[in-house]
Amino acid sequence: MSATVAPPPSRLRLGDVLRVGSLGLRSRRLRTGLSTLGVAIGIAAMVGVLGLSASSQEDLNSKIRALGTNLLEVQASQGFGRGAGVLPDTAVAMTSRIGPVTAVSSLTTVTATVRRTDMISEGITGGIGVFAADPGLLATLHASLADGRFLDAATATYPAVVLGSTAAQKLGIVDVADGLRVFIAGNWFDVIGILDPVAAAPGLDRAAIVGLPAAETYIVGDSIDPGTVYVRTEDGAADMVSAVLPNTVNPATPEEVQVTRPSDALAAQEAASSAFTSLFLGLGAVALLVGGIGIANVMVIAVIERRTEIGLRRALGATRAHIRRQFLTEAVLLAGAGGVVGVLLGALVTAGYARAQDWQIVIPPVAIAGGLVAAILIGGIAGLYPAARAARLPPTEALRSN
């Protein structure tokens, strides 16, 4: 009749932990919504920053891919003791003899203005520069045509011109079919093509490109030394080619030759934007911290308000651990809800901005997972103290307070 052993211990099922832990949230919806906001904003900021930087990085990467890391730009150094700013006229021929070089083209600035008609004053240049190029330029730069065709061996000797995209727009030319001509240095040039924007050499967007022989005949009246030589190498051979280029292009004074890689500029841009990313991530972390403190605050208030509930639960057989688990669950659910809202918000902002910038939308999975984990962690930490306080509350005191 008189068993002296304690009855089997109290148990709270996992599903019940979740139900009991969400009870307070469901019955105080406005407060739940407001206290979720802080964490949501913090997570949204972090996801948004990571998503935007990933999207812009993807955009830069695609630009670099289009450009190719195997494109080199060779120019003559300028300035006192560093040369006269011209390359030998053998530069293109010599460079094409380097083994891994697949394409070489020269591009040279010619002093002249481009006008729609001869009635327009010579002073109105529209910011358009005239360049002399060889027919291989299009292939070397991986550039493409919006309309018409590029110079070939024949048209390079005739007064024919290919316009950059901005230049065409400035001159009011959208189509080559009209048989339009432009006036360059006292001669009429047929417009035979219009370029798409050129990633490798953005300067070409404002250019009028004529063939090298045509420029010599119709504009300068003398032979032209190449200004810039573009070199396309086999994949992975850029560094090697870059090392031998100065000696090849100008064996007499190799120090007057300057070799750059256009993709390096974009890579540098990428590095610069990552500095901003860490700044904004820091701001997001601050918002998250404030959100976490808000949750801790709300939970402390909830514990004080719900003393009788705690007392009742202890009377119904809840252990201290059950009470602790209930309030910890509530804090984690609160922050977790903030995390979900924040991730959605951050993704939305990223998608909207990326679309506006015409970038590919990239939301890194690590940002989504990281955002949720961070929110849950914040909730757990924020709930630690209030939950411990709730668990420590003696049942008699909890029941007396009403």
Binding site: P7, L12, V20, L312, R314, G317, T319, R320, P395
Partner: protein, 233 residues
């Protein structure tokens, strides 16, 4: 008759200057199936006695046996187990969860026993039927009258088939009619074989009970058995 509750020389002092001796060497035996009123003015120690019997608090010295199980030196965890399985509480303020249906309020009486929700609800249904509220199971407390709320609370107290139902001023927040109905229900539970201990300061209510334990200054002043009652030995 075996004892449902045995208090042996229970002393409870609260620290202070000077220390307060809330219970002074209280010994009490309640047999299974008995209905006892513990009565006394405020400050007599009856609330402390309720907490000690309900294992919500531990005595400073002495022993508390519930169904033969010694609880005075149990861990907090084991005391929780005792409460979840051996005791049912009815409070003056009902303590029902707002926004939760009567059925789920009653089912919460089994929450900490690790029983599946469907089984808890089935037992709760039965208990609500027992207190005459089978037609109000899906109502939330705010849609129930005071008397109905206390009946829901009583259903919650008996849903785990406890050894002892502990009621603290069960009619204290009710008008006299609802109070009488609730006491009627409590007497029915007693007739069904439940052991019931009622703490009250209400002399009239206490006088209607078969056994009355009067408290004063932390001591049992009088333990009166109604000789016409069958339960008294």
């Amino acid at each position: 008759m075996s004892a449902a509750l045995e208090l042996v020389d229970v002393v409870k002092t609260y620290p202070g200057e000077p220390p307060v001796r809330a219970l002074d060497s209280v010994s009490l035996r309640v047999d299974k199936g008995e209905m006892v009123g513990i009565v006394g003015p405020s400050g007599s120690g009856k609330s402390t006695l309720l907490h000690i019997i309900g294992t919500l608090d531990r005595p400073t010295s002495g022993e508390v046996l519930l169904g033969g199980v010694a609880t005075a030196h149990m861990s907090d965890r084991n005391l929780s187990a005792v409460r979840s399985q051996m005791l049912g509480f009815v409070f003056q303020q009902f303590f029902l969860m707002e926004g939760v249906s009567a059925l789920d309020n009653v089912a919460d009486g089994l929450l900490y026993r690790g029983i599946a929700p469907a089984k808890r609800r089935a037992a709760a249904m039965e208990a609500l039927d027992r207190v005459g509220l089978a037609h109000r199971v899906h109502h939330v407390p705010s849609k129930l009258s005071g008397g109905e709320r206390q009946r829901v609370a009583i259903a919650r107290a008996i849903v785990n088939r406890p050894q002892i139902v502990l009621a603290d001023e069960p009619t204290g927040n009710l008008d006299s009619r609802s109070g009488a109905a609730v006491m009627e229900l409590v007497r029915d539970l007693h007739s069904d074989g439940h052991t019931v201990i009622i703490i009250t300061h209400d002399r009239e209510l206490a006088d209607s009970l078969p056994r009355r334990v009067s408290m004063r200054d932390g001591r049992i002043e009088q333990d009166a058995n109604d000789l016409t009652s069958v339960e008294s030995v």
